[in-house]
């Protein structure tokens, strides 16, 4: 089976690119906690290393670790390593992460799994929250696209309803014991898949921190900062946050994370949806942004006269206004 990096060119996923830049902007504020080059970045670089390039360039982090499960394609990964300071560790995240000595250095971890929610992810969460230094950031991304009934003969198809099939698939991946009772009767479409994943991840984070805090004189807390949902092809959920103790509380406050309107500390996701626009349209829109009227409309027309004059549907303009600073420019170029 080929990996998702072999099917899609990661650099051409506009929403993912926007998410990455937004996360980078948030990570920049970690400088209130510690010098950014004191952090280590742990990610899953795939051969494109888009996140590694961005964080190395923008944050100046020089201790970067990429976890890669496909040892057999080692040559290709090593060939594509953009910088010498990236160390690729081959193996499963659940056994690689415990050996990273998370208690020695503040870590920014982004586990960008290709997969749908699976039991091993809870092991990774557990290892991080049981061991990482306060001031570290944990983020994970998973595919939350709803399941569909497989194409079967009509006789087989009757066996399970779509709802039952989705529940069975979920239980197959994470086990019945982990599924919260209150979700037992849900139809796991994309919306409910997001809900249940958030709940299960948060429960694991909480359980691990409770066990860890039992013996700590200074307790460690978790503050969720990311809750993104976007769809380039499959729907992706990204959740994440920072762990800190009370000695770091004032520094966390100084980060003023509430200024960044794409951060979410609750179960309501921030939806990233980049409209498809031409270069001419982008140029014209950029000229009118930021909009002092906040892209408000009156009787269906933008208060901002320049925006009003651009022949793009208003919803696309509004979407663009929200993310224009992060909008990627894709062009064919000889590099």
């Amino acid at each position: 089976m080929s990996s998702s990096f072999e099917k899609i060119n990661y650099t051409l996923r506009p929403n993912k690119s926007i998410e990455r830049k937004m996360m980078c902007e948030a990570f920049n504020r970690l400088s209130f906690l510690d010098q950014l080059n004191n952090f280590r970045y742990v990610g899953m670089g795939s051969p494109y290393f888009a996140d590694f390039i961005l964080f190395h360039k923008n944050l100046g982090i020089t201790d970067l670790i990429s976890i890669e499960k496909e040892e057999a394609k080692r040559n290709r990964f090593e060939f594509n390593k953009p910088y010498s300071c990236i160390d690729i560790k081959y193996g499963n995240s659940s056994t690689i992460i415990p050996n990273l000595e998370l208690d020695r250095k503040k870590t920014i971890m982004w586990l960008d799994y290709d997969d749908k929610v699976s039991d091993f992810m809870f092991a990774d969460i557990d290892t991080f929250f049981a061991n990482a230094l306060p001031g570290s950031v944990f983020t994970l991304s998973i595919n939350v696209e709803e399941d569909f009934l497989p194409n079967m003969q009509d006789s087989d198809r009757q066996q399970f309803s779509l709802k039952e099939h989705r529940l069975n698939q979920l239980i197959k991946r994470i086990g019945k014991d982990r599924l919260p009772n209150k979700f037992m009767n849900e139809n796991f479409n994309t919306k409910n898949s997001i809900k249940v994943c958030l709940e299960m991840f948060n429960r694991q984070i909480n359980t691990t921190l409770i066990a860890r805090n039992l013996q700590l004189p200074i307790k460690i807390k978790y503050k969720q900062i990311f809750n993104f949902v976007y769809k380039d092809n499959a729907t992706i959920l990204t959740i994440g946050g920072i762990i800190y103790d009370r000695t770091q509380k004032s520094k966390i406050d100084k980060m003023c994370l509430s200024e960044l309107d794409f951060l979410r500390s609750d179960e309501e996701s921030y939806k990233i949806s980049a409209p498809n626009l031409t270069f001419r349209e982008i140029k014209a829109l950029d000229k009118a942004l930021p909009d002092k009227h906040n892209s408000e409309t009156e009787k269906g027309k933008f208060k901002n006269k320049i925006l009003q004059a651009i022949p793009v549907i208003p919803t696309d303009i509004k979407s663009y206004a929200k993310i224009y600073r992060y909008y990627p420019n894709f062009a064919e170029a000889l590099v």
Partner: protein
């Protein structure tokens, strides 16, 4: 009429002795009752020993048959004052005097063990400054329904403010009029053999320190716990040490013996959990469990050891029968979380060893497996590893560069079906001997002519 019966505001709640005894002995097995008495003997011995790391002059002798049970040690004995005030008191006294780093429990353990074993109990103690003998006739004691619960020293056998030579001190307990359970089991060689094996396991660290334990004439030998620690492999280590307690965890690999794999937990040198391969330690399964996958063949080489030490044995996270851990104890919960992380650390290697052997990878190409097999030939005693000069860290080290898995894309399998007639025709035309040859030759033919 007593005062209690007159006071109508009070509800009678004092227990009857027979109820009390039957409740006490229900929660403990015969085997664990004997274990409790051994633990008390070890405490008395450690108290006497000037160096708790050297117990070479200490001895515990147990003799059991269908008539009687006896246990004798040459520890510090029990002072009459301790017997009078604490040791025979039911339940823990607030002023209990426990020796440091003890494993026995005055509160319940000793009496519970006596009652479990039999009904005629005779204790003889020679302590540094006193000596006594005490007899308990349980049946007679049960009949005495007075409100005060007490035993009596044997007449003329109590002397205090004496000065007994160290070579004379010790405690001996002889129990006769055995309980039905005891009679049956003590007649059974299998029970005695198992007892010898289990006590040897529980006290392996003490036996290693020189303690002699003899059960029915057989001197127990120490089991060794071991770990590989060489230039290739370094175990992962974690510790938390404070003034009144210390916790050390070490995890790695040792020789492949399916039976011995798993976690071992010691509390004040007493083995509480041995070769654990269950959810009590880390092996919960990952579908809903908070630990690692269920124990199976792949993990046979895993060894993890936890050492709890506390001056006050009340702080140790074991259950009251010392047969397992107190799963609700905050100390154990915290340590267990570390154990889970450290198991995963070692699994990084164990998973790779398995992967390298997959898909018909020739033995010569299994470079990681070869290196590890070599290391496994000379595991070292854990105590030696803990005292090693090499600094251990909370990371499991192995020669990751030697990992040489077979590439999944090395070959592609093609499979298709054709009618037997067409197959036979092609087979004849190719002069092929079998199906595989037909497949390969037809593919080669296309490749050579069209590519």
């Amino acid at each position: 009429m007593s005062q209690l019966e007159l006071d109508l505001t009070k509800v009678k709640a004092d227990p009857s002795k027979d109820f009390f005894i039957s409740m006490l002995v229900k929660d403990i097995t015969l085997r664990d009752a004997i274990g409790d008495l051994v633990d008390n003997a070890v405490d008395a011995i450690k108290l006497k020993s000037p160096n708790p790391e050297n117990l070479s002059n200490s001895k515990i002798t147990i003799t059991l048959n269908n008539q009687s049970f006896s246990i004798k040690d040459n520890g510090f004995g029990m002072e009459a004052e301790v017997a009078r005030k604490y040791a025979f008191n039911f339940g823990k006294s607030s002023a209990r005097v426990l020796s440091k780093k003890s494993i026995g429990q005055f509160g319940i353990g000793m009496k519970r063990a006596f009652f479990k074993l039999g009904a005629d109990i005779h204790i003889k103690s020679i302590a540094p400054t006193s000596q006594f003998e005490l007899t308990i006739d349980v049946n007679k004691w049960q009949l005495d329904t007075g409100n005060e619960w007490h035993f009596e020293f044997d007449k003329g056998k109590l002397s205090e403010n004496t000065s007994n030579a160290e070579s004379k001190t010790g405690l001996e307990v002889v129990i006769k009029n055995l309980s039905g359970d005891s009679k049956t089991s003590f007649n059974d060689e299998t029970f005695i053999d198992k007892l010898q094996k289990e006590i040897a396991l529980e006290h392996m660290l003490n036996i290693n320190k020189g303690l002699t334990i003899i059960i029915n004439g057989y001197e127990l030998t120490a089991n060794q716990i071991s770990l590989v620690n060489d230039e290739n492999i370094r175990p992962s280590y974690w510790e938390k040490i404070s003034s009144d307690q210390a916790i050390k965890i070490i995890a790695g690999i040792s020789e492949k013996n399916a039976e011995d794999g798993g976690w071992y937990i010691f509390c004040n040198d007493r083995l509480i959990v041995a070769k654990d391969q269950t959810a009590q330690t880390v092996w919960t399964g990952t579908k809903g469990g908070d630990g690692v996958p269920k124990y199976h063949a792949q993990y046979h080489r895993f060894r993890g050891y936890v050492f709890f030490e506390a001056n006050d044995s009340g702080q140790l996270p074991w259950n009251t029968t010392k047969t397992g851990m107190d799963m609700d104890s905050p100390v154990y919960k915290n340590v267990r979380s570390k154990m889970i992380t450290m198991t995963r650390q070692v699994m990084e290697l164990l998973d790779k060893l398995k992967e390298e052997k997959e898909k018909g990878n020739p033995t010569d190409s299994q470079t990681l497996n070869k290196a590890i097999e070599k290391s496994l030939n000379s595991p070292k005693p854990v105590i030696e590893v803990l005292n090693t000069q090499v600094v251990l860290d909370n990371k499991f080290h192995y020669p990751v560069a030697l990992f040489n898995p077979v590439s999944k894309s090395k070959s592609v399998r093609i499979s298709y079906q054709v009618s037997p007639e067409r197959f036979e025709a092609v087979k004849q035309s190719l002069d092929a001997d079998n199906v595989e040859e037909v497949g390969l030759k037809t593919f080669d033919y296309y490749y050579n002519n069209e590519i």
